[in-house]
Symmetry: C2
Subunit: 462 residues, 2 copies
């Protein structure tokens, strides 16, 4: 007879893992079903390995900045094979620590793909054959995977998705990046620091299309100065492997130009892992690219919750963790009303970095809500900040969006601006006024004072 | 006849400058008296030039960390003459911008040393002879200067204070640092990155004696691994120039060991610039090393306020600015009760960095208030943080001090922990509980999550 769990979780990424730790820690009988590796995309094929690449290559960027300021000279080389080994070791150690944490808390780890076979019943295709788990509550946290379009499918040879790029054993000398969103931009920067010549193509006419257009301008200006070949506002007909090269054909009437490189990265968004879970039979709805719809309590069907990428609310690891905490808190009997994400911070790493939370001056896309009442903006340029000067990285700005006298959104671009993230998110949540900013003791000298300067600057129409 | 100002400010450092900008901006007839350069110690001889040194040399440190992790190799050289030129240009440009800001706001800049000659009357020794200014209110913001002890006086040859070191035209190959506080530690790190072999001597038996003893341990361990010769808990009899060397003689019975280097830096604290201001005649009291005593409204005598280093409350630029804002706000007629600094953030730059705000687990000295009720502590190690791993700089920790279920102090040491400063200061001010930390969406992956981990870790007795 199948064991019945208080909680079964599908997926061991940030949302699923955090849910399991919190639920089991609070005494719920919990099982976690994972078909691949603990840690999900974030740990194994996303945020973490990308940050290890960016961190390891930071001396290259730091030296370049100070060399341009003519105070330093020298050279830095990256041992890519050693970096990949270090990355793989770190990821394996982290997965092991996660597993120990879960088993230490009494979570049953079940390896295999899970599928709902009836209300309260899940079948997992394990290596030893199907296994049935009973559940009182189910959290679906199955995440997402790299997306592709017709003509833009990774082929496992020279046309890769982010997973493929992160698994390379040799860094290509040239890289074609299709997609100017955060994934493409972070990977392109890391690759360039390791010697790859970058060509980046996007159908949009600007980089980081979900961000404030002024952010895009700063990014474009910095990356152009670094020698990137930016092809914005152009359409791609196809990307294929031809011999030892990736060949991208632009889509234009009468035959498009061809771009060639050692390798191509397809970074054109992500798709939810929601197919074949059997949720529709319980009453759940999939929409758009297959995102599991959730109500105000993050519920998709009675006793079935969806958190993280798969519900399409916000494809960020910390959003998944935050939603998981909300759901487990509810399961433990604390009713805290409808789910409220608060302002959601997002970060692009690299140089420059981008940070955003809260509303933007103009709605850019579905990721940012349009202002519901007139807004004002105030801004400060990083060039006026002594820490930006010290790092010889002065391109960028901090921009505050105000609604009814309270700060409702903050966007920043520039080297190191990710350090503003928690503080900025919190002051938006608190609805700070100008007077609050005046009364707060900002430490000096800090890059954070660029946020102070923006908060205290004259406001103007957006 | 002398002009009578609504406000005269003595000293154009961070406190005096900010007071002048705010007062003149609000319409007060304002004069600023400065004997030397606008910007004070912080801009000209303190925080800012030190950060320019540390920023410029950061590629050296970043490369060293990744080289130790065996993923990078190479070399970085710093052109010290070019760095000094860049520093001097930046400081001059900043002074000019400050001056333009003041004159643009209608502040009268008076160059010279000021001295009170009676209630409401100040005499400034200008280059054109004495000039008398009348004032309704006076803010004394004359700052501080490097201190010395008998036998430890800078001689302008090979024995220097921080001002002297920052003015060098050639970086010494070896540097004796007397004093393991923040000034000595920041300058020693910058000097080492530019090739100087460091010997550091302190009478205390640990570095950064005002900080948590665990912070000192981390610093000592990192700097020892970097090859510093640390001589802690020893007394210095004398430091003198002998030929082309600085010679330090340790104080021990029967004749002390001699330490030699190309240059010595005396960094043994600071002394207030309060002599000869004529404040005592108005009823002001100087105490200790000459700090101007202030009441709960930062007043030293009727209509006379003291802000910044010279009042001895907290020798930090941002404390001066914060106090200046309070005083000007009062002068403008807003009575906001007694001055309340809130938690005061302090930062040591370099690698590692140190951050502290609020109370410590044990009172270390007058800079930190002793807990008034029993406290608990919780902590997290940076080694568990992926961003620390990415930067191959994992030594350090974040420690939270709790009182009555609320976070009342945060201390951190490690590469990059200064990024916690504003957020940590604010959550102490808000008195966050564990539940507040659980409900907040920390962005992932960030070094900030080490603070989250510390906030959520089990609490134990201090």
């Amino acid at each position: 007879m199948a064991t019945t769990y208080d909680l079964v979780i599908l997926g061991g990424g940030p949302g699923g893992f955090d849910a399991a730790v919190e639920a089991a820690g609070a005494g719920l009988k919990t099982a976690l079903v994972e078909a691949a590796e603990l840690g999900g995309t974030c740990l194994n094929r996303g945020c973490i390995p990308t940050k290890l690449w960016l961190g390891a290559t930071e001396p290259v960027e730091a030296l370049a900045a100070q060399t341009k300021a003519r105070v330093a000279s020298g050279s830095v080389g990256i041992d890519f094979a050693a970096l990949q080994t270090r990355k793989d070791k770190y990821l394996a150690a982290t997965r092991k620590a996660m597993q120990q944490r879960l088993t230490g808390l009494g979570v049953d780890l079940v390896a295999g793909l899970g599928r709902v076979v009836g209300a309260g019943s899940l079948e997992v295709a394990t290596a030893d054959g199907p296994r049935t788990l009973g559940y009182r509550n189910l959290i679906v946290a199955t995440g997402s995977r790299p997306g592709s379009f017709p003509g833009l499918a990774p082929d496992g040879a020279k046309v890769l998705d982010s997973t493929g790029l992160l698994a390379l054993t040799e860094m290509p000398k040239s890289l074609l990046v299709v997609g100017g969103g955060f994934i493409g931009l972070e990977m392109a920067q890391a690759a360039q620091r390791m010697g790859a010549k970058i060509t980046l193509v996007d159908a949009l006419n600007r980089l980081a299309g979900a961000e404030d257009p002024e952010v895009s301008k700063t990014l474009e200006s910095v990356f152009k100065r670094q020698g990137w070949d930016l092809r914005l506002g152009v359409k791609v007909a196809s990307v294929t492997t031809r011999g030892a090269e990736a060949v991208l054909t632009l889509d234009s009437p009468g035959g498009g130009e061809e771009l060639r490189a050692d390798c191509a990265l397809i970074a054109v968004g992500r798709r939810p892992n929601s197919a074949g879970l059997g949720l529709e039979a319980l009453g759940a709805t999939l929409s758009g690219a297959g995102y599991i719809q959730t109500d105000a309590q993050l519920q998709s069907a009675p006793g079935v919750y969806a958190v993280g990428d798969v519900n399409g609310r916000m494809l960020l690891a910390h959003a998944a963790s935050h939603q998981a905490h909300y759901v487990v808190t509810r399961l433990l009997g604390h009713d805290s009303g409808p789910y409220d994400s608060g302002p959601v911070p997002s970060i692009l790493y690299g140089a420059p970095e981008v940070f955003r939370a809260g509303i933007m001056a103009q709605a850019q896309d579905d990721n940012a809500k349009a202002p519901s009442s007139p807004v004002l903006v105030s801004r400060a340029q990083l060039i006026a900040n002594p820490i930006a000067q010290a790092h010889a990285a002065t391109a960028g700005f901090v921009k505050c969006v105000w609604r009814e006298g309270k700060v409702a959104g903050i966007t920043a671009v520039g080297a190191g601006v990710s350090r503003l993230a928690c503080f900025a998110t919190l002051i938006i949540k608190l609805g700070w006024t100008r007077e609050d900013a005046e009364a707060f003791m900002f430490p000096h000298p800090t890059l954070d004072e660029s946020l102070k300067a923006a908060l205290l600057a004259d406001k103007e129409a957006a």
